[in-house]
Structure formats: structure tokens, C-alpha cells
Amino acid sequence: MALLSVKDISVTIGKLNLLDGVAFDIGAGEILGLVGESGSGKSLTAMCVMGLLPRIGGRITEGSIIFDGREMIGLPEVELRHLRGKRIALISQNPMTSLDPIIRIGAQIDQVSTLHLGLSAEAAKARSLDLIAQLRIPEPEAIHGAYPHQLSGGMKQRIVIAMALAADPDLIVADEPTTALDVTIQAQIIQIMVELVRDRGLALMLITHDMGVVAQACDRVVVLYAGRVAETNTVEAIFAEPHHPYTRELIRCIPRLGQAPGSLKGIPGAVPSVVDYPAGCRFNSRCGAAEDLCRNTVPALERKTSGLAACHFSEV
């Protein structure tokens, strides 16, 4: 049974229908990539899983989110708070949204294990130092006593990962955790994060727009487009035999080593705005293979030779 099962959720904020039937599972020990361009609904999906949607005025109108056998939608705030941090941890894009600028780093990590694991102050500090060292940060003692502004962006993001791991969660939701960082630092942090998650057998929901990161880190992939799932499959199949034209085009947009000059073409048009989503398949205006059926009828997310895709015309 999946650790987290998101079943056909639809989300509205005011009159806007932002997510439409988003569905996926994450098993224990699995790294799931949630990939898409801006406006695809990646971060909103993370908010749903964290139970934070009401904070931004959103509402889940349909579907359910089952975590470890329990329905999360409708849970009282007290119970959600117990799940957040303890069993489901969040790593956001900007580490400063997770760190308090006027509290020493050590105290912030210690707090997670005193609060959620009931550790004593000394035990919590020992645990924090151990976590800092596991994230390959030099001189853990010095860092434990430092303030966030004394650290570089990459170091701060490692501290946020240490905080996420501190309560021994079962699921980590990482929303573009390395997007704000330089490439050499991004590569190191992805590597450390993947190692730690694998060692502990944790489930990771990795939200990213970067297909390189997906290929490097994930086991399975969900491709979102304009608030719907376009395709879901194993990482190997997503890159080797994408079923949805959007996935295929998205991969083709990344320049590769040795690619012939002039051969890089984008996807024509832009992601439609939530206020004027087209009828039928939302990718139809940008798709080379679109026909009348695509402009009139929403394609269902169906089983293909492998994985699921929402396309009327995918051959396999």
C-alpha cells in the first residue's frame, strides 16, 4: 500500500479551478518527481499534501488524500500539526522562509527533536550535531552556534534539510529545493539529499522544473500541465518512451551536448492562464498532433503500455 495516495483532487481558490483531478501515489522509500512549468500546479499540490491549503484560501472540492491509511482532508488542525514536521516535513525553495533570522541555527534544529521526539536539551543537541555532520557541513559545533545570515545559501539549505530530517519523518516534500542555488552547489545538495533519503528508506516528493534533476534523482515521475496530470511513469520510461506529447516536447527543449546548432526549438505558445483554459485537452493549442477531439473532449488519464497518460492520440 502506498504511503501517500493522492486521489483525483480538485482545488479551487475563489472561482478559479487550479487543480483538476490530480492523482498519484508515493510508496515508502520512493522518490517521486513532480515536474512541470510555472502555473502547472506543482507547489499547490505540495500545499495540499502538507494540509496548508486553507492558509492561502484554497479548498479541495473533490478527491481524497490518504496518508498512511488515514484520510487527511478534513482532519482538525491539531492533528494536522502533529503530522506536519513529525511525519511529513517540508523543504521549500528559499531556506529563509524556514529559518528564523534571529535564532541560532542549533536552537532551531534542536527544537524539532525536543518538540516531536520529546528529547532532552542535551540529546537534541547531540542529534542536531550528528545531522549537521551527515549533511557534510564542516565544523558542526561552530555552525550550531551561528545565525542564519552567517551562512551561504547552500549551507542554509543544508540546515533546512537537517531540520526536515530531525523528527524522523516518513515523507519529505521538497519544493524546488535547489532552484535558488548555483549549479555546483545544487548538484552536491541533490546528491546528499538523495543519499540520506535512501539510507533511511524515506519517501520523497521532489518538486522541480528541471528535467536533469528528475533524471538524476527520481524513481517515478508525475508530469503536470496546467493543473492536470499529463503523464505518470517510471523515470526510465518517461525519458525513453514518453506517451504524452507535452512530455516529449519538454525533454526536447533541453539543449544536449553535441546538439546541432539551430536544432533547439521551443514549444510554440505559452502555458494557458487559469482564467482561460481551453476546452478539451489543455495542451491542444500548443500540440502539433491536436485534432477536433482534443479541442472538445478532456482526455482521461489512461493506462498505456506502461504508466498512465492523458492523451487521445498517444500511439502506445
Partner: protein, 328 residues
């Protein structure tokens, strides 16, 4: 007489020993500290080619872009454009010359006045330059510019906030092209765009270059994009040029260039990488290091590297490297 083709050969821009210092502090409480954002960079930009500058934050690539257009004055060194030393020009002469050299910025939204319609934004360069146009000429100009970048003339009466990121960047490019420049500095023009739109913009820049015979200096943090788009690639670190690759296929030999290359994940799960951890992070540019700027993080660093700065040397064929122990 030289043939037209031969006259078009050679370097449009020559950069020699270019240095720019910034200082901070120097008040009552803090001692004055100086850093070199760009440190003795020499580089030629060949006509009709794309020269790429790649590096991470703080490497000086954006400062270099501004120095090349003299939006900033250099502390030392020279920039010549078509044989003219930029530092020798008066502000008036400089403004004239700017018709021939323009910049496309990373964030098109901040480059365009939000209260201007697209039409007015496209006509602004002519006002700044004091170019007088009749209403009919102005209409023809903006129509031509907007279609050149693949947008519909219907958008001319829109405001920037009504456009998507990709459309705004197209307007940014149209504005840069308004005065018919021969040289464009592209400072991370696609960094804030989605990948499907980034590829559109690169495709557009490629065809405009062919159509209009432009020369580009392309600044980016994305090595795979730079290697795709550029004819030559300059790798910068802490204000210095570490390696100049003569072509997209040239294999880098500098350890820093390798670290950049290794950090770039291929969109292919069968080619997963094991990342070698660089020690530490980019040091503060205020700490003036005597030896190689990369020595503290380099896996091959020796005492020599920490003591003596390697000079940029030619390995042949235009491949230049500043390293005592280049990788094979």
C-alpha cells in the same frame, strides 16, 4: 580594396586587462574593503559569432557585461568597439555609439516601464537617441520590430503586465534591436523563463543573428545552454577568466570547468552522475587570494597553485587555460 567579407572578419570588441573594483565600508565603524568583481580579463569578441561567458554567482559575468557597454566605468584596462576605445569617448559620443551596442536584460519586466504600452516602450530608444520620426514612420518601425520577434502587432497597445514572461522577453529583444545595433550583450536572457520558452527565445536569437548579421556576448550560468548556443565559451570564476574554449565540442581542461560540467545533470536517467564534492564554497571576493582563485576548492591544487597565480596560456587553436595542472 578589401572584399566585404574580409572587412567583416576580425574582432568587433576587444577587451584587454579589464578590471573593476568595488569597495564597501569605509565609514566610521567599518574599515574600507575592496574587491575586484572583474580581474584582468582579456577577451576578443569575433564579429558575427556568439561568445559565451559562463560562471556561478559572484564570478563577475554581469559586471563584465556592463563594463563592455560602459554602463560601468572600468578601474583598469580597455574595451574597444570596432577599433574605438570606449573610455576615450565623451558622454555624448558614447550615447551615439550605443545605437550600435545594446543589451538584453534577464528580467524583461524591470527593463520596461510598467506604465508604457508596448508601442511606447519600442519607441523609447528613438526618443532617448533624439531620432525624429513621423507618425507613419514610427508606425512602420514598431510594426516591423514586433513582427521581427514573432509577436502580433495587436500586442502593441498592451501593457507589460498583460504579457507572459516569454512575450516580455521578446519585447525586450525588439527594443534592443530598435536602433539597428550590430552588437548585443545578452545578460541571462532566459534565466527567468520556463524551459519550453527558453528554447523559443534561443531559437529566435539564433535566427535574428543570421538575419541581421549580429554579434552576441551571451552571459549565462548554464553551461549546457552556453555550449549549445555559443561559438566560444569563457569560463569565469571569482572575477577571472579560467578557461576559454574555442568551440562547443572542445573538452574543458580546467578543474573548475570540469566541476561545472559534472554538476550538470543530463536529462537521461541512464547517465546518472556521482558528484565529486568540491571542498567548501566560493570564497569571499574581498579575500584577495595570491594564487589561483580556485585553489582552495580544487582537487589538484598544489603549493604552487596557492602561491602563484597561473597565467592564461594558449594550448593551441584558441583554447586558453589558466591552470598549473590542467586535466588531461
Amino acid at each position: 580594396m578589401e572584399s566585404a567579407a574580409a572587412m567583416r572578419e576580425g574582432d568587433l570588441v576587444r577587451i584587454t586587462g579589464l578590471t573593476r573594483e568595488f569597495s564597501s565600508g569605509g565609514g566610521l565603524m567599518t574599515p574600507r574593503r575592496t574587491m575586484r568583481a572583474v580581474n584582468e580579463v582579456s577577451l576578443d569578441v569575433p564579429r558575427g559569432k556568439v561568445t559565451g561567458v559562463v560562471g556561478e554567482s559572484g564570478c563577475g559575468k554581469s559586471t563584465l557585461a556592463r563594463l563592455v557597454l560602459r554602463l560601468l566605468d572600468a578601474t583598469a584596462g580597455t574595451v574597444t568597439f570596432d577599433g574605438i576605445d570606449l573610455a576615450s569617448l565623451s558622454p555624448g559620443q558614447m550615447r551615439k555609439l550605443r545605437r550600435r551596442m545594446q543589451m538584453v536584460f534577464q528580467d524583461p519586466y524591470s527593463a520596461i516601464d510598467p506604465r508604457y504600452t508596448i508601442r511606447r516602450a519600442l519607441l523609447e530608444p528613438f526618443q532617448v537617441q533624439g531620432v525624429v520620426q513621423t507618425a507613419a514612420e514610427a508606425r512602420a518601425t514598431v510594426d516591423e520590430l514586433i513582427s521581427m520577434v514573432g509577436l502580433s502587432p495587436r500586442m502593441l497597445s498592451s501593457f507589460p503586465h498583460q504579457l507572459s514572461g516569454g512575450q516580455k522577453q521578446r519585447v525586450g529583444i525588439a527594443r534592443a534591436l530598435a536602433l539597428r545595433p550590430s552588437f548585443l550583450v545578452l545578460d541571462e536572457p532566459t534565466a527567468s523563463l520556463d524551459v519550453s520558452i527558453q528554447a523559443q527565445i534561443i531559437d529566435l536569437l539564433e535566427s535574428l543573428k543570421e538575419e541581421l548579421g549580429l554579434t552576441y556576448l551571451f552571459i549565462s550560468h548554464d553551461l549546457s545552454l552556453v555550449r549549445y548556443f555559443c561559438d566560444r565559451v569563457v569560463v569565469m570564476y571569482l572575477g577571472r577568466a579560467m578557461e576559454i574554449l574555442p568551440g562547443a565540442k572542445a573538452q574543458p581542461r580546467h578543474h573548475y570547468a570540469h566541476a561545472l560540467l559534472d554538476s550538470n545533470f543530463e536529462p537521461d536517467p541512464t547517465q546518472r552522475k556521482v558528484i565529486t564534492m568540491l571542498a567548501g564554497e566560493i570564497p569571499s571576493p574581498f579575500a584577495m587570494i595570491p594564487g589561483c582563485a580556485f585553489a582552495a576548492r580544487c582537487p589538484a591544487a598544489s603549493d604552487l597553485c596557492r602561491r602563484e597565480r597561473p597565467a592564461l596560456e594558449d594550448l593551441g587553436g584558441g583554447h586558453m587555460i589558466a591552470c598549473h595542472h590542467p586535466k588531461n
